[in-house]
């Protein structure tokens, strides 16, 4: 099913932005690219894995959409689907914010974890959603990612994490910070055991997530144009009044500065993962699925 998507001849209904007014775009039917202004049918955009036909801009995906285009048949056996955040600091307004994001997105928190197969290879996966609370990492994200790592360790499956995060969950302060140590410690165990971890960084990924699990992959791959780093551009500009290049912190910029292995476009991601998984297939693991 997935292959068909790519082999089909692509047709786009594209209208240059200058010739159209925003108001004329039928809501829910069409979409205007925020980078180049190309207007395209949502259906076409989805067929194109939410990559702009005009400029190649990769629209942000949530975890469900990510699994849909990555896993065989888009099928995920989800872990810890009922885990939700508490309000450990009794932070004013936190409970309401969580609720709002749960209602808006239909998700419980900013990460979904589970297992599935990619090209027949069993994998443990985690996918983050920026739309949920800016993809911020609190106790739930940290715990679910840690459990996913532990499951990968116990089952001897490869681990693949799709990261996106605006930073820490301020409302959980120190507990949010400690999730960085928790996930990294679990990855150390997994790595010592010889576990394979592929980290895929998507737009945007900042703060505690790259300063822990996202930058600890055996292989680190980013989507084109994905911005990532520790401190975001705006904060740097405001704090130290430094002028930064236009391309600062993009995947391509980071590749040039040695921060990742590869920039892989969305339509090549699945096949790239299959190749990587295949290269790590040992005799023992090849028995899976037989």
């Amino acid at each position: 099913m997935f292959k068909d998507l790519f082999n089909k001849k692509r047709k786009y209904a594209t209208i240059p932005s200058e010739n159209s007014k925003r108001d004329n775009i039928p809501e829910g039917l069409m979409n205007k690219c925020s980078k180049c202004g190309t207007i395209q049918f949502n259906k076409e955009l989805e067929k194109n894995l939410k990559v702009c036909s005009g400029c190649g801009y990769h629209f942000r995906l949530n975890a469900k959409e990510r699994f849909q285009i990555t896993l065989d048949e888009g099928r995920l056996f989800e872990f810890d689907s009922e885990m939700i955040s508490e309000d450990p600091l009794e932070f004013p307004g936190y409970k309401e914010k969580i609720k709002k994001h749960q209602e808006k997105t239909g998700s419980k928190d900013a990460v979904i974890t589970g297992e599935g197969t990619i090209g027949g290879f069993p994998v443990v996966v985690a996918g983050m959603s920026f739309e949920f609370f800016g993809g911020s990492m609190g106790s739930v994200v940290g715990e679910k990612v840690t459990r996913a790592i532990e499951t990968a360790m116990n089952k001897n499956y490869p681990l693949i994490i799709f990261s996106t995060s605006g930073g820490a969950r301020m409302e959980e302060s120190i507990l949010s910070l400690m999730q960085m140590a928790k996930t990294s410690a679990a990855l150390k165990k997994f790595s010592d055991q010889g576990g394979l971890y592929i980290s895929i960084i998507t737009d945007p990924t900042f703060g505690g997530v790259p300063a822990s699990f996202a930058m600890l992959g055996d292989y680190i791959i980013a989507e084109p144009g994905a911005a990532f780093g520790f401190t975001g551009r705006r904060v740097i500009e405001q704090t130290i009044r430094q002028n930064l290049p236009e391309t600062f912190q993009t995947a391509e910029f980071n590749l040039k500065h040695g921060q990742l292995d590869k920039v892989v476009s969305r339509d090549q991601m699945r096949s790239t993962l299959i190749k990587l998984l295949d290269l790590h297939l040992t005799k023992e693991e090849s028995d899976y699925g037989e």
């Binding site: 885990m83 106790s139 120190i174 300063a211 996202a214 912190q249």
Partner: protein
């Protein structure tokens, strides 16, 4: 008293009044002993009242006090034969982090810590204790050495956070922090971390994955500096005091959340009032915790540390709610 904090003003004023009356008594040759005694008692009461009811933002001011003792001050008072080590062997020598080897009561140990400056010039050289990637990597290099030679590691945490700059990002600020967390988790030697001032963000945690995390009484520890948090939460950095209160950054909260294992008392008014006394308190506490870890083998040391961090977090499942 120089460098007093705003909330210490009543104490300063009372002290001035006492001195004035004392002088007046001497000049006029009047016996004012009783009056002085009464005022001294009031001073002592006021001191207790102010210092035992410090708010988060008041503690934050003490934690950031310009006279607050730094890592190098404590090294000088706590350890013997300190040899400072420099550089990450890849890029440079980041002075925002210091490290080296020394003896603690005769036992060889490795020490790594954030280092704030003592004056403006020093602070510029040390970037106000905000490390670049090479600082974290220098720390890791020195800790790796401790792991090789089986020396306990003592870290001192005191930073507003990792340095926010273009060059730091280009050289992999996020990766440098992440790597420290990963590697510290795997060391076979005991690690004791002490938050001596400000524990701000991943820049603090990068030296903070220990078997024990200790905090000075007025130290703070949070996911980001209250200023940065305020600009994210309220889109207004000037609301940092509100953020400081809401984020529960003080030592007793950090202990309640299972992060800090012990709180080290400070002299009245803060560590800067008596560095020697403070250093002794810290030394005793380090030795007590090292003693507790003494019987563990290499595997148990690692597991002890893993369990500590594995258990931190607050969540529930929907089934539990209904």
């Amino acid at each position: 008293m120089a460098n007093e904090l705003p909330f210490e003003k009543p104490l300063i004023e009372l002290r001035a009044k006492i001195e004035e009356i004392r002088k007046f008594g001497i000049e006029k040759e009047i016996d004012i002993a009783e009056e002085i005694n009464r005022l001294e008692q009031r001073y002592a009461d006021l001191e207790v009242e102010i210092y035992s009811n410090l708010s988060a933002s008041q503690k934050m001011q003490i934690a950031r006090h310009p006279m607050r003792p730094t890592t190098l001050d404590y090294i000088q008072h706590i350890f013997e034969d300190f040899i400072e080590l420099h550089g990450d062997r890849s890029y440079g020598d980041d002075l925002a982090i210091v490290g080296g080897i020394a003896k603690l009561n005769g036992i060889p140990v490795t020490i790594v810590g954030h280092q704030k400056g003592k004056d403006t010039k020093d602070n510029i050289a040390r970037n106000f204790g905000m490390p670049h990637p090479e600082g974290f990597r220098k720390g890791l290099r020195i800790m790796n050495q401790a792991n090789k030679f089986k020396r306990p590691i003592i870290t001192f945490i005191d930073t507003p956070g990792a340095y926010p700059g273009g060059a730091a990002e280009e050289r992999g600020q996020a990766e440098a922090i992440a790597k420290n967390l990963l590697e510290m988790a795997g060391f076979r030697v005991p690690i004791i971390c002490i938050v001596i001032g400000e524990g701000g963000s991943g820049g603090a945690l990068a030296l903070g994955v220990g078997n024990r995390v200790l905090m000075l009484e007025n130290a703070i520890y949070s996911v980001s500096s209250p200023e940065a948090a305020a600009s994210i939460l309220y889109k207004d950095a000037s609301k940092s005091l509100l953020a400081a209160e809401s984020m529960k950054i003080t030592a007793n909260y950090i202990q309640d959340f299972g992060v800090a294992d012990d709180i080290i008392p400070e002299p009245k008014g803060g560590a800067h009032q008596n560095v020697k006394e403070q250093a002794e308190n810290i030394k005793d506490t380090i030795l007590r915790h090292l003693e507790q870890l003494n019987g563990l083998d290499e595997f148990e040391i690692k597991e002890d540390r893993y369990k500590k961090f594995r258990g931190i977090g607050s969540f529930t499942t929907l089934e539990n709610v209904f």
